[in-house]
């Protein structure tokens, strides 16, 4: 019984008669506003895109402040604030911006590499010696880092559209990585086919782990958040177990928890030569994002996913099998996270160890959150976080800012995105109102 009359219910839409004289004028759908007006409105009213961009900006500011005021040189300069105020502010500014410049150079573009390129005698020499590659190295590294983040982020975003919260990216990643690695070293296949078999194996391995929480929820109502979290532990220990015995997956002749290297035929092809790590895994991630977008917006399957995500009751009444869709969406999501595992093993690592899964499963949640649960958003968020990861080592080397600063940036971005009112308050945006309307709702509404 939420059929109450909202205070702002448009009167014209409600009245069947078209003859009233005192009627307030409704907004004509035909009235076109210029792009500039729309842009200004969307910025001032703080829609989700604006909020996200501002959240990133705010995070950079906060990160810069933290960075500046934890640096000993800066603190020393501040102790002489009154004798030399310019120095204090200058030091703080330099430290904050220096770190970001290094971060940028490590992840997007480094001017020094261009200078080095032009000092080479000839183009062919430059290419051969890897100077050209050095120019594109940072971008390549960003894409490499973004690949698993995008794939695992999609594994969170897709079920999110269907009203499920997949925390199990890590377990599904491990499932995919195990199968892809095993197929990579244990079987021998011709070049292209081997890659495809391993990638498909990664999908299946992840899908199997994703299927479990889906099926349990459909059959017993077990909450997917609990089950996926528990499966993360189970899979992490299962991986340790597999890597503890030579007759399982541990590489022969070693005491370390690591597998043999996968066959060269199973490597994802590198896109721009051997100097750049960027590989077909990145294209796979983009293709998957496109596929998820297509699935959600252009197919009956996606229609059902979105329907059960928005209103499971009405979906059931409309003849949609909600439970079956829960299973299906978790299956596909698990597969996507499994592909992230396959992409890491086949693209860059080539062996599986007990730390291979890193923090991808958790980062995926932040990527999906920042990406607003949409495929394109996940790609952009994945690239952003990929860039942060890619640039961090250079930042640490060049400015001795700890790589943990990247974690701080990520955390602040997510904090801001998760609390839009905070961003609206900081930047004094309008919109997001309706707090009064909330008052008009009761618990039995």
């Amino acid at each position: 019984m939420s059929a109450h009359e909202p205070a702002a219910d448009p009167p014209p839409a409600a009245s069947p008669a078209g003859t009233a004289t005192t009627a307030p004028k409704p907004e004509e759908p035909g009235e076109r506003r210029s792009f500039g007006q729309l842009l200004r409105q969307s910025v001032t009213e703080g829609n989700s895109f604006t909020v996200t961009v501002l959240a990133i900006f705010a995070a950079l500011v906060v990160g810069g402040l933290i960075n500046a005021f934890t640096n000993t040189t800066v603190l020393h300069a501040w102790s002489n604030l009154f004798s030399d105020p310019g120095h204090a502010f200058g030091q703080a500014w330099d430290t904050a911006t220096g770190a970001y410049v290094a971060l940028f150079e490590g992840s997007v573009f480094n001017p020094h590499t261009v200078a080095a390129l032009f000092q080479q005698a000839s183009i062919s020499a430059a290419v051969h010696d890897g100077y050209l590659s050095a120019v594109f190295g940072p971008l390549s590294e960003t894409c490499v880092q973004a690949t698993p983040l995008i794939l695992a982020g999609l594994a969170v975003a897709l079920p999110y559209q269907a009203g499920l919260f997949n925390i199990g990216g890590q377990g599904q990643f491990i499932g995919g990585a195990i199968v892809a690695t095993f197929l990579g070293y244990a079987v021998s296949l011709p070049p292209v086919i081997h890659v495809i078999v391993c990638v498909l194996g990664g999908f299946v391995g992840g899908a199997a782990i994703g299927w479990i929480p889906g099926e349990l929820k459909a059959r017993t109502g077990a909450h997917e958040v609990i089950v996926t979290i528990m499966l993360n532990y189970i899979m992490a220990y299962f991986l340790s177990y597999l890597l503890a015995y030579h007759y399982l997956m541990q590489a022969p002749g070693t005491v370390n928890p690591i597998t043999r290297a996968i066959a060269g035929n199973a490597h994802l092809p590198q896109l721009f030569g051997s100097h750049l790590r960027i590989n077909a895994g990145f294209l796979l991630a983009l293709a998957c994002a496109l596929a998820v977008w297509w699935l959600l917006s252009r197919t009956t399957v996606g229609f059902e996913f979105r329907a059960i995500g928005k209103n499971p009751n009405a979906s059931r009444v409309a003849g949609i099998n909600v439970e079956r869709n829960w299973v299906l969406v978790m299956l596909i999501a698990g597969g996507l996270a499994g592909l992230a595992g396959a992409a890491v093993i086949q693209g860059t690592d080539f062996t599986l160890n007990d730390q291979s899964f890193g923090t991808y499963g958790i980062d995926a949640i932040t990527v999906a959150l920042l990406g607003l649960g949409r495929p394109l958003g996940v790609v952009l968020a994945g690239l952003l976080f990929g860039a942060l990861h890619a640039g961090a080592p250079l930042m640490q080397a060049a400015t001795s800012t700890p790589v943990d600063m990247v974690e701080v940036l990520q955390a602040v971005v997510v904090l801001m995105v998760a609390a839009p009112p905070l961003v609206r308050a900081i930047f004094r945006l309008r919109g997001g109102g309706g707090s009064l309307l909330v008052l008009a709702k009761g618990w039995n509404g």
């Binding site: 839409a13 008669a17 009956t300």
Partner: protein, 543 residues
């Protein structure tokens, strides 16, 4: 206390929700505010209650201009409001809910108490210990004075809706309300509860309290009001005395003449289409809601199921749609057994369903009008080929249906949740009548709708009957049953207590709705012609 609103104007962006509204509420009067959904009634009352600030105009109390920055100010000025959706804490007792926000601490002072007791009371007051006894006494006192019949110690969640409403009234009275605003108070009540509410309103009126009664139901307004102000599209359309006819009021409300009772010809029933035999339905806890129900709906007739809400009607409809498992009995459509069919199979077999709760079960509020119009057909051509959705076909379908059913929406891409109730119901009807169907099941098809929309929905339903569709209407509104049904089945505690023709007097239906049984129970149209049974049976319906 005399309350006067002068030239109240309230805008939401470009939308004028209230325009130059003047309203005077005399002391000790029931002043009805009549208007369709979205006419600006709730906005006006939210302005009066301090929830919204007017853009223009002023509020006068006893001739003095006042301004309310928040409900707190309005309450202090003696204005109380009972919202359509109650603001109670379900796990608190009645007394706790009543005191919420105005908690008295310490013990009530009693004359002649020894000084050490008074010292103790003061200490408790400082420590913030609640004085429960005092509020319980207040609630009991008010309950007795106005015949509210409320026990202050009962947990609110255990109370029926009608009593919860009285708790809201007591909350306002305890805060010394002199003007009580009731926002659509009867929307959630059974006919009997409505009668009780009216009795309470009259008692409050005699006690000097003014009542602002907001409603879109003509008959109720006529029954209770001393003065009626009609709002239309955010402005005052006029004032009427309660002696005005329903037609006059309806015309003023809608802005044109409306037909309150849809005209229909004699039914020409064909063979039975929907056959329900011994249907028994229980919920998860094992409670039986539908108990061995048997009935048939024939092609070209409307069977109206009357009954007080909560007697298994919801469960009956859900079981008929396959949303609830059947324990025993069969459901068949043109001889085809559908007892174990899924909702999707039933829809494809030719059952159209208009659910009782349109926002919860009928629509996906965040989806566009166009998407909602194919919500149970998106898999079939032309809307899909394989798994691919044909967005053009969905848009084209929406364009025709929006026009055909006169859905007022800015575009077919507008989220359906932003539409008014009447337009939402039109979207559901457009969808359900749009696909191939032999049976139409409609549960409370006009609940919460305004007069104009009710007329529209009723016309469409009768139109379906005339096309040879077997129609099953479930409604708690006797007016609706009388307006539509060719045959009436009365439901009480999961059973049919009798079939009657639409000419049956309301008292007879009321008796059956309260559980009165027939002497010779015999389901089917033949039973409807037998004469009235004696006053046997179980007395006392639900509250």
């Amino acid at each position: 206390m005399e309350l006067e609103l002068k030239g109240i104007t309230k805008r939401f962006g470009s939308l004028l929700a209230n325009h130059q509204i003047d309203l005077t509420v005399a002391p000790g009067q029931v002043h009805a505010l009549l208007g369709e959904n979205g006419a600006g009634k709730s906005t006006l009352m939210n302005v009066l209650y301090g929830l919204l600030q007017p853009d223009e105009g002023e509020i006068l109390i006893n001739g003095q201009a006042v301004s309310f920055a928040s409900p707190r100010d309005a309450i202090a000025a003696g204005i109380g409001m009972v919202h359509q959706h109650f603001m109670l804490v379900p796990v608190f007792t009645v007394a706790e809910n009543v005191t919420l926000g105005i908690e008295e601490t310490g013990l009530a002072e009693r004359d002649g108490a020894p000084s050490y007791l008074r010292f103790l009371a003061g200490a408790l007051k400082l420590a913030g210990v609640l004085d429960r006894r005092r509020t319980r006494r207040d609630v009991r006192e008010l309950s007795r004075r106005y015949g509210l019949d409320i026990d202050p110690d009962v947990m609110v969640e255990n109370l029926p809706v009608g009593i919860q409403q009285r708790v809201e009234i007591v909350k306002a009275l305890v805060r010394n309300a002199k003007v009580l605003i009731l926002d659509e108070p009867t929307a959630v009540l059974t006919p009997a509860e409505t009668e009780d509410l009216f009795r309470i309103i009259r008692q409050l009126k005699d006690g000097g309290t003014s009542i602002v009664f907001i409603s879109h139901k003509l008959r109720e307004v006529q029954a209770i009001a001393d003065t009626i102000t009609v709002l239309r599209r955010g402005a005052v359309a006029g004032d009427k005395p309660p002696t005005a006819t329903e037609d006059e009021l309806a015309a003023m409300m809608v802005g044109r003449n409306v037909q309150l009772r849809v005209s229909k010809t004699e039914a020409k029933p064909g063979p039975a289409v929907l056959d329900v035999d011994g249907l028994t339905v229980a919920d998860e806890t094992g409670r039986v809601w539908v108990n061995e129900m048997s009935f048939q709906v024939r092609a070209g007739e409307i069977l109206g199921v009357a009954g007080v809400q909560g007697n298994g009607q919801t469960e009956l409809c859900e079981a008929l749609m396959g949303l609830r498992p059947t324990i025993a009995g069969t459901v068949s459509l043109n001889g085809r057994d559908l007892t174990r069919a899924t909702p999707a199979q039933r829809l494809r077999a030719g059952v159209s369903y208009v659910p009782e709760d349109r926002q919860e079960d009928g629509l996906i509020g965040a989806f566009s009008v166009a998407d909602n119009m194919v919500l149970d057909q998106y898999k079939q051509p032309p809307f899909a080929s394989g798994i691919r959705l044909n967005l053009d076909a969905i848009a084209a379908n929406a364009a025709t249906r929006v026009k055909e059913f006169d859905v007022r929406t800015t575009s077919a891409q507008t989220p359906v949740g932003t539409l008014s109730g009447g337009n939402q119901q039109k979207v559901i009807l457009a969808r359900e009548l749009g696909h191939e169907h032999k049976v139409l099941i409609a549960s409370q098809p006009t609940r919460g709708l305004d007069v104009g929309s009710i007329e529209f929905v009723h016309r469409r339903i009768v139109e379906q009957r005339d096309r040879g569709v077997a129609v099953l209407i479930v409604s708690a509104e006797l007016d609706e049953i009388y307006a539509l049904a060719d045959r009436i089945a009365v439901m009480y505690e999961g059973r049919i207590t009798g079939f009657r023709p639409p000419t049956v007097p309301a008292e007879e239906l009321g008796r059956l709705m309260a559980g009165g049984t027939e002497e010779a129970p015999g389901p089917g149209p033949e039973a409807a012609t037998t004469e009235a049974a004696p006053e046997a049976g179980i007395p006392g319906a639900s509250q």
